[in-house]
């Protein structure tokens, strides 16, 4: 097993002439819960999509468990996309069967017990479910795998605050101890206390990567407060009318 789970070196991605990631250097260890934090358009989703092999980088290199992105890395990465990609006539149980076929590390028993504790009935069709319930089903699909890297793109954006706590609890009680969880979000105050580390992404660059405790100790303020400071939007200066 490789010591560092994820290594990015000078990772760059352009969409046409538009840069999305600009020479990102990043190392992630094992058994960590990492927050990928940044405002809209800072490159969070691009980074996650490169890690799970959906996008090719323009330049630079990425390895996961010492391997370049490949069928092997896909087998150890569990990805929660920012939008739903399943046919809506399927039931949650259908999806569990599908995932069990595709991923050797999918634990069907665990998926059913997680459904029970999240209050989702596996026999319901997706189209009859609310947005929050669909997100819960997706989370179950992702967390019921025994993966090494979990990439969760905005997992709590669409659910109410009570369900948010429940989902975060599901994440901290269900990730395996050698696995690392990377959560992208801008709802920082909600997830701050479950994080080991925070990564601030700004205009496609990493501007801060440290443990949450270090940040709080050094700055005497929460990661949320620091985020607001670093990414304070400049007031619109329209000039005099």
């Amino acid at each position: 097993m490789n010591e560092q789970l994820v290594t990015c070196a000078a990772l760059t991605k352009h969409y046409g002439s538009k840069p999305a990631l600009n020479s990102v250097n990043l190392q992630l260890g094992r058994g960590r819960i990492v927050g990928l934090l940044g405002p809209n358009g800072s490159g969070k989703t691009t980074l996650i999509k490169i890690l799970c092999g959906l996008l090719q980088p323009t330049d630079g290199s990425v390895t996961i468990d010492g391997q370049p992105i490949s069928p092997y890395t896909k087998s150890i990465v569990s990805y929660l996309p920012d939008r739903m990609y399943f046919a809506d006539w399927m039931t949650a149980a259908d999806l569990f069967d599908l995932f069990a076929d595709f991923y050797a590390d999918f634990d069907q028993e665990k998926s059913l017990s997680m459904c029970a504790s999240l209050g989702v009935s596996p026999r319901d069709r997706l189209k009859t479910m609310s947005k929050g319930t669909k997100e819960k089903v997706q989370l179950v699909l992702v967390m019921a795998r025994k993966a090494q890297l979990y990439l969760l793109d905005e997992p709590i954006a669409g659910v109410d605050p009570a369900a948010r706590d429940f989902i975060l609890n599901t994440i901290i009680t269900n990730y395996n101890e050698n696995g690392t969880v990377m959560i992208s979000t801008h709802l920082i105050s909600d997830i701050e206390k479950v994080l080991d580390e925070a990564i601030f992404l700004k205009d496609g660059q990493v501007v801060l990567h440290d443990t949450v405790d270090n940040i709080r100790e050094r700055e005497s303020k929460s990661v949320d407060a620091l985020f607001r400071e670093v990414f304070r939007a400049r007031n619109f200066e329209g000039g005099a009318y």
Binding site: D165, I172, K193, V194, D196, D213, R216, E217, S222
Partner: protein, 121 residues
């Protein structure tokens, strides 16, 4: 007792304080077994690594001891708990006196007020 965190300090420090308080209040009695790190982390809604760090600190202070057979328990040494309780009480008094001083009371007046109010309680 509910878990709660303020913004300005590391979470592990606040966890250590809150578990200490639970021990001093007898919620976790002397010599009793402490819940597992994962269980406590889930209760408080925090990262298990953070809870682990808080527990390590608790062992440093002597309030918690871990043994290979019994897991992690509250110390059965009553003097350690008594000392910690006294320290906590001293802190509460200091805070109270500071507030009263800021309100403009001298030490003697402050003590009189303390006595009056506590008699009515």
């Amino acid at each position: 007792m509910e878990w709660g965190f303020t913004e300005d300090r590391p979470i592990w420090q606040q966890l250590t304080e809150q578990i200490t308080l639970r021990i001093l209040k007898g919620e976790y009695p002397a010599g009793s077994r402490l819940p597992a790190v994962r269980e406590l982390a889930a209760q408080a809604g925090v990262n298990p690594n953070t809870m682990q760090r808080a527990m390590a600190q608790l062992e440093q202070t002597g309030l918690a001891v871990s043994s290979r057979t019994a897991g992690r328990t509250v110390t059965d040494d009553i003097t350690i708990i008594q000392n910690a309780r006294k320290e906590r009480a001293a802190l509460a008094v200091t805070q109270c006196m500071t507030t009263l001083r800021e309100l403009g009371y001298c030490r003697a007046d402050a003590l009189t007020i303390l006595k009056e109010v506590s008699e009515h309680e």
